[in-house]
Every structure is written in C-alpha cells, then in structure tokens.
C-alpha cells in the first residue's frame, strides 16, 4: 500500500512538472504549428538566471520570480527577433529557425558562462523528506506538486475565464478567422510566446532545483519530454498536453521500477519508439482535439 502511495506521489510530482513543460510547448504549437526546439533553452535561461543571481540579497522567492521573468522575456525576444521574420515562410523554415535559436542560446551559455555544469544553491530542506504515517514524502515532491498545481490552476483560469484566454483558444482553433475579426496577429503570437516562456521558467526553476545544477544542454531532456507529451496528447489541446505530461511522468517512474538495470539505459529509446508508434497509429493522440486547421502564415 505504501509503495503504491509512494509511486503515486512520485508520479504526480514528475507528471505535474512534465505537464508544465508540455503546456509551454503546446501554447506556441497550438497557434503557430511550430515545434519550438528552442524551448529547452528557455529552461536553461531560467537556470542561469538563478545561478547568476544567487548569493546576492535576493531571497529564494525573488530568484524564482526573476528566473520566470527572464525565461518569459527570452521567449518573447526569440519570437520578435527570429520567428517573426520567418513566420510567413514554410513550416520547415520555422522548425530550422527554432533549431538555430536553440544552438545560438546554448552556445551563448557555453561562451559567456561555462561549458561545464554550474551548481545552484538549493536550500537543504528541499531535499529532506517528511515522515507521514510511515510514508516518506520528499519535500521537493510536495513543493513541485504545489507550485505546478497552482500554475496549472492559474493557467486554466486565464484560458477559460479571461478575454485573453478566449483569444488564445480561438487563435489555436482558427487563426485566420481571428485575424479577419480584427485581432492583431503579432500581439496574440507574442502573448503565446510570453506564456510559453513563463511556464518554461516555472517548470525550469523546479526542474533545476531537482537536479541541482545548470549546464548549456540542461534543456534537452525537458524538451524531449515535452515533445513526447504533446504528441501523446494529440498536439491540439491544452488538456491533451496536461494528460500527456502526467502520462509521461507515470511512465518514467514506472519504467524506472520495472526495467532491469542494463535496460534502463535504453529507456529513452523505448519511449521515443512509442512516440513514432503513436504518430503512425494514432496521429490524433490519446486525447482528440475538437478542431484543427492548417498552419497560419
């Protein structure tokens, strides 16, 4: 029984983090049909902001906020500088642009900080665990679940209850129609990038807290996870991305328990094979979106 509870908490913690990653990626994909390969580097930006600002007078919460803001700004900046000029070109051009932006940011971290991983000061209480009725619950898991949960809730409120959310949802359904109704394309897309960056910041901060250090390629793993999660979730809806994220979290924890040690190394290969399989057999994903139109330009 305790094992099952333990599994559920671990899966929930990792899953909620993955769900945030996936949401950030789908925010942009939903509107532009762009798989933003530079998404992982937003997480990296959050991590380096933390690394650079730590040791100053800024408290941990302040570090979190500045990391999130930095990731959001970086996201908007990449949109303005790189993605907007190529938006009207082919989809391949945008994908390759995002790949180039990813390389650009990674190498900037390489040049201006260091190619080696840098440790961030994670408070020691983050890695302790509480003992509740014989059940050991990591503080980190609780904090991740709490912050991710709050962020998810805030995002849902934003998307469902505000005019901005309505615009964004409409934009991912039929962008051309929205433009005809007089909504500014640039503004909507920039907002989507901003939200994507903020989500990457929150999730990235927690992610980097979990692993304790930041390196130029730190964003790679979250990007891959988010990619799989949105494919599994059908690449069309926010709820699909969330479901995909939790699915991935549960799958990762489960495989860690089930797979023998020498096969564990091939875990990522197995998971990616699942992605190709899902794309081929069930391209609409596990959860089917209601509506999808061609990419806008």
């Amino acid at each position: 029984m305790n094992d099952i509870l333990q599994f559920i908490i671990n899966a929930l913690s990792l899953g909620s983090l993955y769900a945030l990653f996936a949401l950030g990626l789908i925010m942009v994909f939903g509107i532009l049909r762009l798989v933003n390969f530079a998404y992982g580097e937003l997480i990296m930006v959050a991590g380096y902001t933390w690394y650079i600002l730590q040791g100053t007078f800024i408290p941990l919460v302040g570090l979190l906020i500045s990391a999130v803001v930095a990731a959001g700004l970086a996201s908007v900046l990449t949109e303005r500088v790189a993605f907007r000029p190529v938006r009207s070109n082919s989809m391949n051009a945008m994908l390759i642009t995002s790949f180039a932006v990813s390389t650009l940011l990674q190498n900037m971290a390489l040049v201006f900080v260091s190619p080696r991983p840098r440790a961030v000061d994670v408070p020691t209480w983050f890695h302790t665990s509480l003992n509740v009725g014989g059940l050991r619950i990591g503080v980190s898991n609780l904090i991740i679940i709490a912050i991710s949960g709050l962020t998810l809730l805030a995002l849902m409120l934003l998307m469902q209850r505000t005019r901005l959310g309505l615009t964004l949802r409409a934009a991912s359904d039929d962008f051309r129609m929205l433009q005809l109704l007089g909504v500014r394309a640039n503004q909507v897309i920039a907002t989507a990038f901003l939200i994507s960056g903020l989500l990457a910041g929150v999730a990235g901060f927690l992610w980097i807290g979990r692993i304790g250090s930041v390196s130029p390629t730190v964003g790679m793993a979250p990007l891959l996870v988010a990619l799989i999660a949105i494919v599994v979730g059908g690449m069309s809806s926010l709820s699909g991305a969330i479901a995909g994220g939790f699915f991935m979290g549960a799958l990762t924890i489960a495989l860690q328990l089930i797979l023998p040690q020498d096969l564990l190394a091939f875990r990522d290969a197995v998971i990616f094979a699942v992605v190709i399989l899902v794309l081929v057999v069930r391209p609409q994903g596990l959860i089917k979106g209601r509506f999808a139109t061609e990419r806008i330009g």
């Binding site: 798989v35 989809m91 391949n92 642009t97 390389t103 190498n107 494919v231 190709i276 081929v280």
Partner: protein, 362 residues
C-alpha cells in the same frame, strides 16, 4: 545537333560547373600541402557527400529530416565493426559478440556494407515514417535521431558505449574523399533529373496534384529516403576512417546543426547550391574557428571563445531563412539559367530546332 534531353546544356553545365569548382578546390588544397588545409578539405568533401545525401531526400521531397545524421552515425559505427582488425577489436570492443570478432573487410567493402546497414535501417523505419506529413514527420525524424543516439551510446558491446571508439585504420585521404564527393555530386544531379526525382519534386510542390496524376507519393519518398540514408551512411563510414576515433556525441545535435546550415544556406532545392553551401560554410566556419583560437589565446576576454563560431553560424542561418529562404542558389542550378538563355537565343536564330523547346518546359 540533337542531344537526349538528359544531356541538354542546361542539365550538363551545372554538373560541370559544380565539379569544376570542387576540382579546383581539391587541386589547390593538394598544392598548398599544409596538413591543416588537407584535413579541412577532406572533412569538407565528406560533408559534401553527407549533405548531398540529405539533399536527395530533403531537397527533392520538401520534408524536413533530422534523422540523417543518425544514419551517418550508423554508417560510421558499422564500418568500424566491418573494418577493425580482429586483434584491434579485442582492445577497442572487448565485449563484442563472437560472430563479429573475426570479421574484417577491406576499406571499400566495409564502406559499402556500412552504407547498406544504414540503408536497411532506413528502409525499415522509413516504412511507417513516410506516411507522416509536416510536423509529425519532423518530430518523428527527430525522435529517430534521439533513438539512434541512445542506442549508439548505450550498446556498449557494439559501440564501446559513450566512450571513444578508437583504433580504426586511416583509409580516407583527401583525394579518396574528393573522388567520392564528385561521384555523389553526379549521382545527386542524376537523381534529381530521374523520373523518381521528378516524381518526388512534383510531390514536394503539390502533393495532392502529384497523387492525382498517379504518383505513389509514399513509395517515392520511401525509395528516396533509403537512397539518401545509403549515401549518408557512406559519408559516416568515410568520416570514421578519416577521424579514426570518435564518440556517439559526434552524430547528434551539433552535427545536425552544421549539416542543416550547409544545406539551407546553399539552397536545398538545387544540387549545385547544396554543394556550394558546404564549401561556403566550411570556409566561413573554419576561418571563424581560427579567429576563435587566436582570440582565445591572445585577447583577454572575460569569457571562453569556444562556441563563438556556432553563434555566428546560427545567426547566419536565421538571416538566410528570414531573407532568402530558398538559399543562395534557389531554384535554377548554377549555370542552367545561362545555358537556357543561350539555347533560346540559338532557337531564335535557327527556328527549325523545335525539339529542344519541348525539353525546356519543366
């Protein structure tokens, strides 16, 4: 003067121009004689093979593929398995399965066998992959690259895991690479003009129209995918036998970035453009690398200079994508426009040769 349409001047001249440029580069490099220039030129010719292999699929079909660097990696590791001498294998790959233990082929058989391994792998995975379109195809090919990387870096018995695989014999020299690059340049031109290439380009320009005139788009893409994987595998094998010791990390994101930059900057839709892209990016990145090294040693920057080259290349790539998305040589092969204009002039003076005007409509 009647020529078969495949040998019309506007088809042949681009091939000659492209070969001519690279022949001059090869001769100049061998006359120059410095080992650094020799190394750079050899890697450039291997890259010509690699990027043209990618162009055969990506340029003609219009589908983005991240997977081809994976095929290059498969080619490199497979050729190592085929060509390592048995006593060297005991050191380089101590856990190797016994059937492979005594296997040793010569250089060319090893290269072709390795390319065939990459092609067979591509044939199997291409079967489901070619059914996908647009974003799904791009994501799936990206997933494939990750899978290949994970397997190459974890299958310790066959690849020595994430550690360096060493002890390959150095077979590839500048002229071997150059001659193979010339052959692949011709192959890429022939492929583009072949009926298969024509069908593939038709599906790129309008997939529904291509379907409607009876082209089996999925099959056509699949054949091109296998051919291009074969060539990329070959490039990997040539590269492996030049570098002689390498890690799985060599065939991952940064290699993909360089290869894509070469393809996109040159112009994926044209063979001469792609080849030119390899030349230009090689010259640019190598001179940047030299600057990076000198700056790193002499100037007192508060940061490392390693990585500057990639930053500038990424900026170049973004600029090209934004302002010249078709690449430097966009649609008309180098020299083809000139040959076409000349042909038209000649027709105006001699109105009886009408068969060429038919060949001129594409």
């Amino acid at each position: 003067m009647k020529l078969p349409s495949g040998l019309a001047p506007r088809k042949v001249i681009p091939v000659l121009i492209t070969l001519g440029i690279f022949l001059i580069v090869a001769i100049a490099a061998s006359l120059f004689g410095s080992s650094l220039v020799d190394r750079i030129t050899t890697v450039m010719f291997v890259n010509v093979i690699m990027v043209l292999g990618l162009q055969i699929f990506m340029g003609n079909s219009g589908l983005l593929s991240f997977a081809h660097v994976g095929f290059m990696g498969i080619g490199a590791y497979a050729s190592a398995l085929f060509s390592l001498p048995p006593d060297q294998k005991l050191m380089s790959l101590p856990d190797l399965y016994t059937p492979f233990q005594d296997l040793q082929l010569g250089f060319l058989p090893a290269v072709f066998a390795a390319a065939a391994v990459a092609a067979i792998f591509a044939a199997i995975v291409g079967f489901p992959l070619m059914r996908l379109a647009d974003t799904a195809a791009a994501i799936a090919s990206f997933a494939l690259l990750v899978i290949v990387h994970v397997v190459l870096s974890q299958w310790t018995a066959m690849t020595n895991g994430p550690r360096t695989l060493f002890g390959l014999l150095k077979y590839t020299d500048m002229w071997t690479a150059a001659i193979w690059a010339f052959i692949i340049i011709v192959v890429a031109f022939v492929f583009k003009e072949s009926s298969l290439g024509m069908k593939l380009r038709a599906s790129r320009d309008n997939v529904h129209a291509a379907n409607a005139v009876g082209i089996d788009v999925i099959k056509t893409r699949w054949i091109a995918f296998v051919i291009s994987a074969f060539i990329c595998g070959m490039a990997g094998a040539m590269w492996a036998h030049f570098i002689t010791s390498f890690q799985p990390g060599a065939f991952y994101m940064s290699m993909t970035f360089i290869v894509l930059t070469m393809l996109i900057v040159g112009g994926p839709q044209t063979v001469s453009g792609t080849a030119l892209g390899v030349l230009i990016i090689t010259v640019v990145s190598e001179s940047l690398r030299q600057m990076e090294n000198t700056l790193g040693m002499n100037a007192n920057f508060p940061f490392d200079t390693v990585g500057m080259t990639e930053i500038l290349l990424a900026i170049v790539l973004i600029l090209v994508l934004a302002f010249r998305p078709g690449g430097l040589v966009e649609k008309t092969e180098l020299g083809a426009g000139w040959a076409k204009r000349r042909g038209r002039l000649r027709r105006q003076t001699q109105p009886e040769t009408t068969d060429e005007s038919l060949a001129g409509t594409e």
